[in-house]
């Protein structure tokens, strides 16, 4: 008899059922738990002070004035981004869409930041 078969013969019907059930449970837990960090609001700061806090439910555009000019923040369902910024290097624009709680795009030259807040904000760093 093939060696694999001798091993499989040790498994009884109830075992198969349990393996199947727990395999399914593990499988479904994968996407569920990876979506856990979805943010639900955008926090826009200007000069370190909260300029506006908006829920991530309907699309809108927000103009934030800064020392260099206007930074445009675009909100969509479940995500937000810095659409345009007068800064030189455009780091915050190139960061693209943010959707996870705790993500942040900082337009340092114009002193504007866009952060995503969630039900419970995770740590952005931990050290021991």
């Amino acid at each position: 008899m093939a060696p694999a078969l001798t091993w499989l013969r040790l498994i009884r019907p109830g075992d198969w059922l349990l393996i199947l059930a727990s395999g399914l449970a593990v499988g479904t837990s994968f996407p569920l738990l990876w979506q856990g960090g979805q943010g639900d609001r955008a926090i826009i700061r200007q000069e370190g002070r909260i300029f506006l806090e908006v829920p991530l439910n309907k699309p809108r555009e927000i103009q934030v004035p800064g020392p260099l000019g206007i930074t445009v923040i675009q909100i969509e369902a479940g995500r937000a981004r810095v659409a345009s910024d007068p800064g030189l290097r455009q780091y915050c624009v190139r960061q693209g869409w943010l959707s996870q709680a705790g993500e942040i795009a900082i337009c340092a030259p114009n002193r504007v930041s866009l952060a995503i807040g969630g039900g419970q904000s995770p740590y952005d760093s931990l050290n021991y």
Partner: protein
């Protein structure tokens, strides 16, 4: 007062427990030496001994072997009373609790493979609960659940198969104590 002389009567059951616990400690040392990609993921080879003992000698002996394994294993690894010790203690207690119930499953339908899977999930749950309550008090910890549960399932099945094989290939020996 006269000084009392305490004499320990070492029975056959004690010798058996010590011998099996030694085997479990050996396996948990091997366990610790196997490199794993993620902290917290371990094959849990020592549970093979716990399960064989459970099938052969009952829950009480399995609990003794498991408890001794946790204490002696952690002493040898330098983990005694360190966080790792409490984590493995929590895991061992939870899996013993679940095994007490799992043992009542009808043997015609469920082999030790089922025990092993249930025990390894319980082990993971106990460790996670303690880690969440004490070491990393943040729900972000539960994002590890899918990975840990998958590992628990895979190693649970493999260990369970090994247990079945051991029980099959080494039928009950009557002269356990005469072997040296």
């Amino acid at each position: 007062m006269t000084p009392s002389i305490t004499e320990f009567q070492v029975g056959a059951a004690d010798v058996r427990i010590a011998r099996l616990a030694a085997a479990a400690v050996g396996l948990s040392l091997i366990d610790a030496a196997i490199p794993m990609p993620l902290p917290g993921v371990k094959p849990g080879l020592a549970n093979i001994v716990t399960l064989v003992v459970l099938a052969r000698y009952g829950w009480g002996t399995a609990a003794w072997v498991s408890g001794l394994r946790v204490v002696a294993g952690s002493l040898l690894l330098g983990q005694f009373l360190a966080p790792g010790f409490f984590l493995s203690l929590a895991g061992a207690i939870m899996s013993l609790a679940v095994l007490a119930l799992a043992r009542c499953l009808p043997g015609r339908l469920f082999s030790p493979v089922s025990w092993s899977i249930l025990a390894s999930f319980a082990h993971m749950a106990g460790q996670l609960a303690l880690a969440r309550a004490w070491l990393i008090p943040h729900d972000g910890l539960f994002r590890l659940v899918p990975v840990l549960a998958l590992a628990a399932l895979i190693f649970g099945i493999i260990n369970g198969l090994v247990v079945c094989r051991l029980l099959q290939d080494f039928p009950e020996e009557k002269n356990h104590e005469s072997r040296s």
